[in-house]
Symmetry: D2
Subunit: 292 residues, 4 copies
């Protein structure tokens, strides 16, 4: 699942970049000019990217550089994955599970990155679609971390029925369900009590949110078969309000009877990572495993 | 904390009852006539109680009999507690943590109950009030189980700042907080990973819902001092939507800056319980501790 | 991963069976004659199997039938896997996650089983070996559920250092570690807070037992690379007593400096399962997901 | 529960101190002379305390100063509590939940302490005794944190039957049980999944260790009634090996049929704490609640 991007050409392969950033994060904006200058000094053509320009320039870019935290990375990932453009995250604060480098260390890494000595790691993503009867009510849309189906304002607990490859898995009664990729296992699913899943695994994580059935635990399933979640109710008069959201950023509300189909998206995200920093090192540092 | 109600008079003390039930539960309605007949046959004056008639007749009733599940009991508890009228729950299905007897066994217990050989157990309740600046925005309202402050539709994670007796406790970043009585510890707080707290204890349970800080755990505090929760934000531009609800039944939405004060309510609920069925027996049976 | 055993021959493929049972379980012994008679009536050659006779007769048997609970199945699995003989579990009480049928239902299933209409499901197993310096101190030995490394009598908490494919994963300070197969995820690892892992996944589960570092969570890793656990100490004068055990049945004690290597065993267990009973059905029934 | 020690006399009340330390902790030894000098400079009579001298000098000491981590504090607490001598902990590294001050800050605090402006906080302790039939097999002994009853070398899971005030609570099948004071809730019980219990509460925490019954949760009970734990077995032939330990430091092994009675010890520990550092501040800092 790891390929060396330099292997694709004998010439330096990265000649143009899109800079993608979170305008609402002052730290990201502060780093913007610095990074732009750094890349131009190396001879790259650089575009600054709002989501709109990003979409337009993507066919011409060799790389997208996202500056900010994990929120910015998730937004960028959903934009670049369909076009298979490599993504490099520059962390300007916060957790940064997905970043290839911290902003402070970019200077030290920029050479190795542009010379293709960073590694392209593939992360698989979710493709999500919701229907109600014959009608499509959401998607298809993609997500890098997770698809969350949970109760909205009026509801206290909802019933979700999950099945996998046409086999009934379980009814979950509680706040909702998180359908997560391995990448998303260190995000919201972790807060809901889920395990950490190595991104090399081709597996879904289904984590119930505050399940009333105390014996229901997070469940790890092969990703090759789609998971279908049906919004149900326990009593005929119930009409719970339900929300679906992808990566905590894109979503809508659902009604009883809606069916959400969660599949592995056909194209993986190509993430640039520092080969000298292992996944476990990221875990230890972000989750503070060295301390109590 | 236990008193024998027969001790209050040498005459049979229970002469009139209000029957309170959930009209939407067919099982409760099915039992209604049966229970009414049973009570009348014992010479009691019986009123059928919608919440409105209940409030009107309360000063004249010696007892309120609530038929349904825990939802019906919670509704009844909030109505009877301010007038200190004893409450008997008749479970017609579901969990029934608060019931004195199952509907099927009522026949066997009715004598003991009316002769005052059931026990009055006191359960303390919450009094909740929310202000924003000088303005009251919610309450005061009471709850038997819990006060839940959680993120609404638009928000993914919210910041709540808790303090106790003017001492800062912690900032909680996640789905929200449950402030629970011991009685409520077997309700939503249990689904959120909380412990079981014996109702004889004068203690609050603060249970974070999916906290992003993995070291934050449920916290048990003395109930004699109020807990204050302030709705905060992490960044100036954030304007999260927040919901408050009592016993999952009464609530409203809150804005950043609101302060929720949670106190022990001055009057306890007087709950009729079967002296032959201990609290631990209820736990073992409801939580299926005899099985895996 | 599923193969139809009847496909291996046009003749009925099962002609001889070894009956393996737990002599200490009265229920198993009670069923013994009944099952023996049932199999003989179908024309099978049947041997009764203590572990010793089992080993001797294995090359001649088409199937091993294990009567008892999961403990008996684990014992049988470690015996049959190296010879690739299919295993059928007949549950005579208890949990029975691994059984193909309950004893009460055998009569109904025996035909389908012998005609090859039960399905052979492959379950991967662990191969475990411990060394200290150049000296082998345990194994190689195999396990179907798990390898547990935990503190013994004198120690309260121990330090275990885990690595995977020569990459340092983490130091775990606490009661110990469970290295589990997907099959073992519903056994001890579940009690330690682990998730349920679908047996079709080629993944290890590393579940810390009461870790003092509260942010350490169960971890799911690809099974293709061995996991190495080194028994460490925090201070030079410490000399903790450590125990290793496989499936809770086979084990020894270890000293500081020992290295335990846990690999996927090269031969899978061939388990006979009822194709009409899905893995999820087993989960729902054993973990009582239909109830609270 | 808080009393100002200076209030007991108009003269400075602390004239003599015992210095208690962990000889195996180099950091503690390093601080020893420094602290001794500091106290002598203030005119105090100072004795250096091995456990033996400590016991002998206790009647003459106004205070015991324990240098080290929480292990040293637990050892000192069990020695001083029966004589009601106030205890001051000086943290020389590690967690230090019980310390009044860090070694580095002693200089700044020593004046306030000796002038009686530190606060005496009372922490209640456990008194534990085990019998088998008419014979006493352990104790009575006291503990500040917890009494742990768990499986020893040979056993994988044990059955413990708990009762409270002659009422059967539950059978716990798993690795064992932790009976903890509120003070102990941030120690081993936290690693086993327990909540944090405010030390002002008069409550026991019963936390099961890896219970096989997934619905069994930590349980908070009033401390005024003793908890009795009986070592049981599930099958007649079982003879599990069981260990009991207090504060992880004192213990012995138990056999099936033993009864452990855990009571609130009649004398509280008198702990010197910094009035400017609240319990919540200690939690936030030790459990790193400011970080993820």
């Amino acid at each position: 699942m790891k390929t060396d991007i330099a292997a694709r050409a004998d010439e330096p392969s990265i000649r143009s970049a899109i800079l993608f950033y979170n305008e609402q994060k002052p730290e990201a904006v502060r780093w913007l000019r610095k990074v732009q200058a750094l890349l131009k000094a190396r001879g790259l053509r650089v575009w600054m990217g709002s989501p709109a320009t990003l979409r337009e320039r993507l066919p011409m870019a060799d790389i997208v550089v996202a500056m900010g935290g994990d929120g910015t990375m998730l937004r960028a990932a959903r934009l670049v994955a369909p076009r298979s453009v490599p993504l490099l995250g520059i962390n300007t604060g916060g957790l940064g599970f997905l970043s290839g480098t911290d902003a402070q260390e970019l200077n030290r890494h920029i050479g190795t990155i542009l010379e293709g000595r960073f590694v392209l790691e593939e992360r698989w993503m979710l493709s999500v679609e919701a229907t109600r009867g014959a009608r499509k009510v959401f998607g298809p849309a993609i997500a890098l971390n997770d698809c969350v189906i949970r109760c909205g304002d009026q509801a206290r607990a909802i019933t979700l029925q999950a099945s996998c490859a046409n086999l009934f898995v379980a009814n979950y009664f509680g706040d909702g369900l998180i359908l997560s990729t391995p990448t998303g296992s260190t995000a919201y699913a972790l807060a809901a009590g889920g395990p950490v899943v190595d991104p090399r695994l081709d597996a879904f994580l289904i984590a119930p949110i505050c399940p009333h059935t105390l014996t229901q635990r997070p469940l790890i399933l092969p990703a090759k078969e789609p998971v279908v979640v049906t919004v149900s109710r326990r009593q005929p008069q119930e009409n719970p309000q339900i929300l679906i959201s992808l990566d905590g950023q894109v979503g809508c509300s659902l009604r009883v009877g809606s069916q959400v189909t969660i599949r592995r998206y056909e194209k993986p995200l190509k993430l640039l990572v520092n080969p000298k920093r292992s996944y476990f090192q990221v875990l230890r540092s972000k989750l503070k495993w060295g301390e109590r």
